[in-house]
Every structure is written in C-alpha cells, then in structure tokens.
C-alpha cells in the first residue's frame, strides 16, 4: 500500500502513578483519514500531545515519515514508578519541542479553540506561516524580505479563499461565529504546510448541520492539500463518514482498531461506550 | 469612556499650563510688596530623601538670614531679596531638572546644596546657564574643581578626612579603624578614601566596608568592627544611617568611639545617642556658642515659628549646616553688592572678591572657588544632656 506517515510505537505516558496512555501502537498511512475515539478521559488528547511534542512520553517512540522523531525511556524517579510495558527496550532520548515537530510537517488544532485573540483572521493564518519563513530578524525588520512576505500574504489569501473565510479576513478572529473559528483554526494549521494534520475534536460543540459541513470540509482539504489526517472526535456520524480506519482507546489502552464497519460491531467498543455491569 | 478620559487629561494639561503661565507672570514682575525691586536667590537643597533633614536645616539658616536682612543695596537701589526654593530630592537624577527649574525662575545666584553628588549634577546646568552657585555643605573637591561657576563655603573631603584621621590616631591613640560608607554614595566613599589615605599614612590600619542603600540592620557591621579590634568606627554617612549606626553600636556594646563627618552634626543623631553608652566625635563647621548673638537670634526665630521648628527636628538646637546656610545668604548679598547688578554674569565676576566675617569664620575664596578654611571644630556627643560638647579646633598637621 502507500507509505507509512505516522507510527506510534509502544508509547506509554505516565503522570506520577497514573498511566494515561498505556503501550499505544498505531500507524497511519499516506492519504488516510484515521480517527482516534474513546470515552472521555481515555487518553486521546494525551496521545495527541505525545505525538506533537507537548508531552514527552514516559516510554516508547514516535516515527514520522520513516524517521524516529520522539523517543524516551523511564528516567529518574520514573524508573521506580514505571508501570508500563517494554521497559528497557528504549535507550535513546529524542524530545523535540512542539515547534520542531510542526516544522517537520505536522500541524494540529485544539479541543478548546486556541486562536490568537487580538489578531485578525488574516493575521492568525499569516503568523502560522512564520515557521516557514527563511528571513532572519534583521532582514525582516528592515524589510529586506519583501518578496517572501508578499508570497506569504498571497498564499494566506489563497488559503482563506479555499476555506471560505476571505470575506472576513479583517475581522478579529474571536468575533467569528463558533463554526468559523473552528474552520479558521484548521486554516491556520494548514498554513504551516503540514503533510499530517491532527484535529482534536473539530466538531465539538457543533450542531448537526455544522457537523455535516465540517465533514465535507475535511474531505475537501484532504484532497486539495494532499493531506493525511489524524483526528479525535466524539461525533460518530462524522467519524464513520470520513474515517478510513478507526482506533479505539479506553483507560489509556487500545481496545480495537479497524474500519468503521468493524468498529461499529466490536463488542469491546460497545461495552466501553455503554459500560458493562460488573456482575454480568 | 475613552473620550471622557482624553478630555479630562487635556483639561488637566490646559489648567496646569495656565497655572504655570499665571505663576511665572507674577514672578517676572520686578517689584515686590514694598514697592522695591526684587532680586531672586535660588535655593538648591534637598528637602526629601536621605539628606532631606539636613537640607531643611540648611534652608532654615538662609530663611533666618533673609528674615534678618530682607533687603540689599545693589547699585544704589534697594532690592527685596526673594528666596526661590526648589527640592532636588537628594539624588543627582532629580538635581538636573531642579537646577533647570531655578534657571527658569531667573535667579541671580544659587545657594546649595547639601550633598556633593546632587551639586555636581546641578553644576552642569548652572555652568551651561552661566549662573553662579555657592555650595554650602557639599565637600567633594570635584564640585568646584570641575565647574567654573561653583564656589563653596564648606571645607573639603581631603581636609575633613585628614582631620578626623589625625584626631583618631593622635588624640584618641587608635591604630585600627573600621570605616563604613554607603554603597553608591560619593560623599561617603570620598571621605572614606581620604580618611583611609591619611590614617594609613600615619601608620594605622583600616578595615573598610560598605553597606547597600536602604540598609537598616547595622548589627553585623558593628560586630565586624569588634572582630577587627577597631578602636574607632568612622562612618561618614547621612543622618538616617548615622542614627541607626549609633543605635546598633550601643546595642552591641561597641567600646570604641564613633567618628562622624559634618553630616552627623544634627540634633537627630544626638537624640539617638542620648541615654546610650556610646562615644562619638564629629567634625563640623560651627559650634553652637561660637557666635552668641546669632545663636540667640535664630533660636528665638525658630521657637516663634512652628514650621521652622518642625524642619529643625523639633527643637532649637543650632546645626552647623544652619550656620553655613546663614553665611551663604550673606555671601550672596556681599557678591550682589560688589557686582552692583542682579545679572548672574556680574555676580559671578564679583564672587571671588568677596571677603567678610561670617558666623563660621572669615569667608574668602581661593582660585578654585573653595572657601579658605584651615580648621574644623570637633564635637562630642554628650549622651546625658543630649547636646554636642565642644572638644577642640583641629587643624591639619
């Protein structure tokens, strides 16, 4: 099949004595839309944070485009506290900060929208271009980078056109309606020119109509920007509609993976969501 | 909201401008209440900050002199003398704008300041404006040496430092001295330097330390002095720190003597020492009783004048700086008389030829602009009566 974009390998994230993600293994191939689902508190966002460099995993590794970008093993106090598996298999430490991960070609959105509040729609997207700028602070200050700046602005305008926010480009980001803010956050992530886009509950708080629009939108950008998409979502309609494959987390552990159809009929998944009576 | 605020700000600006305009108009009028012409003498003194207390006492001398002699004959005409007092807040950074303010008020001459650093900062402005200034109790040589328009009544740091070193070594028979100055104060550090030089020159040993600005806890410093077996602690510091050092020395049972410079000659320091087991000596320009007529007059004036009494620290003890302020005023009048004009340039030319007997001694200037002084009064704190007792007149050598 097509090439492997993201691989999470034996990743365990432990906070003190609490294991938030337990030995997670997951792969995403080029062009796929993969969803990560699970009940609240299952460790989905933690997994995202591990992949994007916000958290350093306690043990395990993350590969991106065939390259190992994150690796860690229990150290210091964690040596004693560690409850996960594969202890001692990893020896290296690779801990890039989130910005480095983004520069490698991974961009994300947030569960609770995190736009830059005092900036306009246009500037929100333009700032995301900063990580692709080649000018140094001196040339930027004295406007020796006019060409690059012009190209960036053109690209942002184009991007805003594509996502349908061009007409509100001079509005403040926070003055937009909720659905458009979500869309803007995606546009901002796209501006960082990722090959893998991570969406953390993009449909949270949306009504069914907005969700449908978003579903179409995600498909549209995947095709247009030739993206691979990894998303966390609770809206099952959306997940089932657009996902190629689905991973299910519960209490930090992977309990199922497969196509939407397979997942829909998986007993463990149903139990996880609906709960099982203890004495059953 | 924003507009309202802008309007308010604008209003404040406009009003204050108007206030300033109004004020300067009345000041420019060249005739006073009595119908006489007015000559303005600037007073450049700290009223606030570390030297605020000393500055206020110095101003008292000038105000009293102004009360005694409110007019002056210049070129055959009688002028009323008006004192223009600005607060230089002890610090050089405020000194500059205070000095500019005086220039702005079109004074013929400036008196002050207490403290050398601020005088040097002001000196830059006076020099630029060609305005003569008469330093009162600023004792750093650089005040007059680096500035053509600055003259001075006080003795200099090298003189004072040497006098105290001599006194400590020869009269008190001390061979080890502990020297303490405030970090960042050029007055303190200057005296520390000259004292150390002289004391070591005599064959003594000096342990020098400094304390950061704003210190209140001098206990460990006193302990350091004790550990060094110092016979004296020389601390040429401002009044506030002098009080705290006296207090700490008493509490820690320091058995040697405390040596202070002219700043110590204050009723506040005496207050702190009263009733405590400490010995202290200070050098100063004037000893109460040196001129009974002046003493009696100013005491009466201070007692009749509640504000003056507050500024003097709540009693009628005459500080040396008050005497020097008094002399400064009369020196200015002499210079104005000789100049025969209120023009600062004429006054500047007249100053070197001033010669008269003030309450602190004969006042004449050398070629640098410093008063010719070869003696300092040494006083000691009488901790029972709460007064300064005269010890001797000390000269160098």
């Amino acid at each position: 099949m097509s090439k492997n974009v993201l691989k999470i390998e034996n990743a365990t994230m432990q906070f003190g004595g609490v294991v938030a993600v337990d030995n997670l293994n997951l792969e995403i191939n080029e062009g796929e839309i993969v969803a990560l689902i699970g009940p609240n508190g299952a460790g989905k966002t933690t997994a995202f944070n591990v992949v994007t460099g916000v958290y350093q995993p306690t043990n395990g590794a993350v590969w991106f485009n065939g390259e190992k970008i994150i690796e860690n093993h229990p150290q210091g106090k964690m040596k004693k506290l560690y409850k996960g598996q594969h202890d001692g298999e990893y020896t290296g430490v690779i801990a890039p900060t989130p910005d480095k991960v983004t520069k490698l070609g991974m961009a994300r959105t947030f569960q609770n929208i995190r736009l830059w509040k005092s900036q306009t729609v246009f500037d929100n997207v333009l700032i995301a271009k900063h990580c692709r700028a080649t000018s140094n602070v001196f040339s930027a200050t004295f406007r020796l980078n006019r060409k690059e700046e012009k190209e960036q602005r053109e690209h942002v305008a184009e991007l805003l056109n594509t996502v349908g926010l061009y007409d509100v480009k001079d509005e403040l980001a926070t003055s937009l309606p909720y659905g458009k803010q979500r869309r803007l956050e995606i546009a901002r992530a796209l501006a960082a020119e990722p090959s893998l886009l991570l969406l953390d509950e993009p449909a949270a708080g949306m009504n069914p109509q907005e969700t449908d629009e978003l579903t179409a939108f995600i498909g549209q950008i995947r095709d247009e920007f030739k993206l691979t998409i990894f998303l966390i979502e609770h809206h099952m309609n959306l997940v089932m509609d657009i996902s190629d494959r689905i991973y299910v987390l519960d209490f930090g552990k992977l309990i199922a993976e497969g196509t939407p159809a397979e997942i829909q009929n998986n007993k463990r998944v149903i139990d996880a969501y609906l709960g099982v009576a203890d004495d059953a | 909201m924003k507009k309202l605020m802008a309007a308010v700000l604008a209003l404040v600006m406009a009003l204050s401008l108007a206030a300033c305009g109004g004020k300067s108009d009345s000041q420019d009028a060249q005739s006073g209440d009595s119908g006489n012409k007015v000559v303005k003498i600037g007073v450049f003194e700290p009223q606030t900050g570390d030297n605020g207390a000393g500055g206020k006492q110095e101003i008292l001398g000038m105000q009293y002199a102004n009360y005694v002699q409110p007019t002056v004959e210049i070129g055959g005409e009688t002028y009323d003398v008006k004192l223009e007092i600005v607060d230089n807040r002890t610090t050089p950074e405020n000194g500059k704008s205070a000095a500019a303010e005086l220039v702005n008020r079109k004074v013929s001459m400036v008196l002050g300041s207490y403290g050398s650093g601020v005088s040097m900062a002001g000196g830059e402005v006076f020099q630029e404006a060609g305005l003569p200034a008469l330093g009162t109790s600023c004792t750093n040589p650089q005040v007059t040496a680096g500035c053509d328009v600055y003259f001075r009544l006080a003795f200099l740091d090298p003189f004072q430092g040497t006098v105290l070193a001599n006194y400590a070594y020869k009269e008190l028979g001390v061979t080890t001295a502990y020297v303490l100055g405030m970090l960042g104060s050029d007055y303190d550090q200057g005296l520390v330097y000259y004292f150390t030089e002289a004391f070591e020159g005599l064959g003594g040993t000096v342990v020098a330390e400094d304390f950061p600005e704003g210190s209140a806890n001098f206990v460990s410093y006193i302990n350091n002095a004790k550990a060094a077996n110092a016979g004296v602690i020389f601390a040429p510091v401002s009044i506030n720190y002098a009080q705290l050092i006296v207090e700490a020395a008493a509490a820690q049972g320091f058995e040697g003597a405390l040596l202070g410079s002219d700043t110590w000659d204050s009723n506040k320091v005496i207050e702190s020492a009263t009733g405590k087991d400490v010995t202290s000596f200070v050098t100063t320009f004037y000893q109460e009783g040196g001129n009974p007529e002046f003493d009696a007059g100013i005491k009466e004036w201070i007692n009749a004048n509640p504000d003056a009494k507050t500024n003097n620290g709540g009693n009628d003890m005459v500080a040396a700086v008050t005497a020097i302020g008094y002399d400064a005023y009369f020196t200015a009048l002499e210079a104005l008389k000789i100049a025969g004009s209120t023009d600062p340039k004429a006054v500047l030319e007249a100053l070197p030829s001033v010669s008269f007997e003030g309450v602190t001694g004969l006042i004449e200037f050398d070629e640098i602009g410093d008063a010719k002084r070869d003696a300092a009064y040494i006083k000691t704190a009488n901790t029972e009566a709460g007064v300064w007792d005269f010890v001797k007149v000390q000269t160098v050598g």
Partner: protein, 292 residues
C-alpha cells in the same frame, strides 16, 4: 565560636523578622498566585503608624492600634486594588500591586515629608540591652524568633483545625472548584490579607524596635527578601516560608560577617535566581502543571 556567635544570633533574629513578612507573601501567593508587591509597604506603614502612635499614646493603646491599622490597610488594599481585577489577566493584577506599592510610598512620602522618621519612644523591655554568652544585644533580638515560632504554630493550628483555615487550604488547592463548592472566596481572600497584614505588623514592631528609623523605602528590601525567603521555602507553604526566612537571614548576616558586605543584598537575589532556575518549587513547594 565566640566570634561567630553574634552573627548567628543576629541572623536568627533577622530571619524571624523576614518570616513574619514572608508568611503574608506565601499565603496570598498560595491562593491568588499574586506577588503582593505592596506587602513590604504595608510593613513600612505599620512602622510609621507605630512611630506616630507611640509618641502620642501610651503603649497599651498604641500597639493594638498599630495592629488594627495595618490589618485594615491590608484588607482595604485587597478590596480596592485586587478584588475588581479577579478575572483580569495576571499581569494586570501584578501591575495593580506595583501601583499600590507606588501609591503607599508616595503617600507616606507626602505625610512624612520624605524624611526618615526615627522611633523616639521604642517599646520598653524588648528594646533594652542584654548580654548573652558575652555578646551584647537588644532583647528584641532574642524575642523575635521565639515570638515568630509561636505565631507560626498558632497560624498552622488555625489553618489545619478551623473552618476558615480549611477554606483557605481548599482555595489554595483549586480556586475555582472551591468557589463552586460554596466557599465564600472573597471572605477567604480577605482573611488571608488580614492574617498576612497582622503578622507584618508584628514583624514591623519588632523590626523597627531593633532598627529604630522608618524611611518610606524601609519596606522595600525586607519585603523583597521575605519574598525570596517564601520562594526559597516553596511558595504557598507556611513552614517553607519560615524555614526559608531563617536560612536567608542567617546567610545574609554570615555573608556580612565574612566581609562581603558589598554584596549582602545582591547575594539574596542570587539565591533567588538559583532557586528559581534549579528548583522553582523551593524546599517544600508543590509542583503545579499547566494543562493544555
């Protein structure tokens, strides 16, 4: 030993004074996450009130008056300058704190005429000299640490065994949840300021008995150093603040004794920076993580 003893006695005493101020910082920071820049100035005002009150009134009236006035000041500052900014960004509150500090200093300047005020009638008994182990010192030097420990024990008891103490602990743990659980957060915060100011007033009386001159800037350095002590001990922790204060006080006096007097203040800040960089949680502080 004989040589070093006076420094140790003095250092412990200084530590006690810092401790009484540091508790004010640590309590407020624990709940509001605010460095109360005005706390040092509250301490200074207590000194000023003492100077004025003791000259005019007998001690048994003057000293309670100092306590009452300081507590009132602390309470008022919180109500006027911090409460309206409860939902504002942290920087605004901190600026407000700096503004209050500036205001208090300038008002004190206006009232005192900018001239340091000597304590002319020091509190009797504790201001007298005593000789211990051959070293002379004021009695307050010995009283300070004892009184400090006593007050801290009472305070810790209050916090662990009373309702308001429990509310304070809850608010320090999680401000919003405590509010949701029906804790009257404003009352708790006011109480924090009242306790902090009360202890600062006690500290102030001891401090200015020892060093009897109150300048408008007198609160600045002790305030900053007490804050450093609070950070050193782990901000938010009362025992931490006390231990930190004693350590800072001792170190400071020993540094002076060792002859590095030029850097006696600078040293405290060096400790601060080192602690912040190496162990920002201090000796007893708890780790706080930000949620993404």
């Amino acid at each position: 030993m004989q040589q070093i003893l006076p420094y140790i006695i003095n250092g412990i005493s200084v530590g006690g004074q810092y401790a009484l101020i540091a508790i004010g910082y640590t309590l407020v920071y624990g709940i509001l996450r605010l460095i109360n820049f005005a706390h040092g100035d509250v301490f200074m005002v207590a000194g000023l009130v003492m100077v004025y009150a003791t000259t005019a009134l007998p001690f048994y009236v003057a000293l309670p008056l100092v306590l009452a006035a300081t507590v009132l000041l602390g309470f008022t500052i919180e109500r006027v300058a911090y409460k309206p900014l409860r939902t504002a960004p942290r920087m605004s509150v901190m600026i407000s704190a700096i503004g209050v500090s500036y205001l208090i200093q300038n008002l004190a300047f206006y009232i005192t005429g900018g001239v340091p005020q000597p304590v002319t009638r020091p509190i009797p008994w504790i201001s007298e000299n005593v000789i211990i182990l051959g070293a002379s010192t004021k009695r307050v030097t010995l009283v300070t640490p004892i009184l400090t420990i006593l007050l801290v024990v009472v305070l810790v008891y209050l916090i662990n065994h009373t309702k308001i103490g429990m509310a304070m602990r809850a608010a320090a743990k999680d401000f919003e949840t405590a509010q949701l659980m029906g804790i009257k957060i404003n009352a708790v915060i006011s109480m924090t300021f009242v306790i902090g100011s009360f202890l600062a007033a006690v500290g102030s009386m001891l401090y200015f008995t020892n060093y009897p001159s109150v300048a408008i800037t007198s609160g600045g350095m002790p305030g900053l150093k007490a804050f450093v002590a609070a950070v050193f001990g782990g901000i938010g922790s009362i025992p931490g603040a006390v231990v930190g204060a004693f350590i800072i006080g001792l170190c400071e006096e020993l540094i002076k004794g060792a002859g590095y007097t030029t850097f006696s203040d600078a040293f405290t800040f060096a400790i601060l920076i080192v602690v912040l960089c190496v162990k920002p949680t201090g000796l007893f502080g708890e780790k706080v993580t930000d949620k993404v």
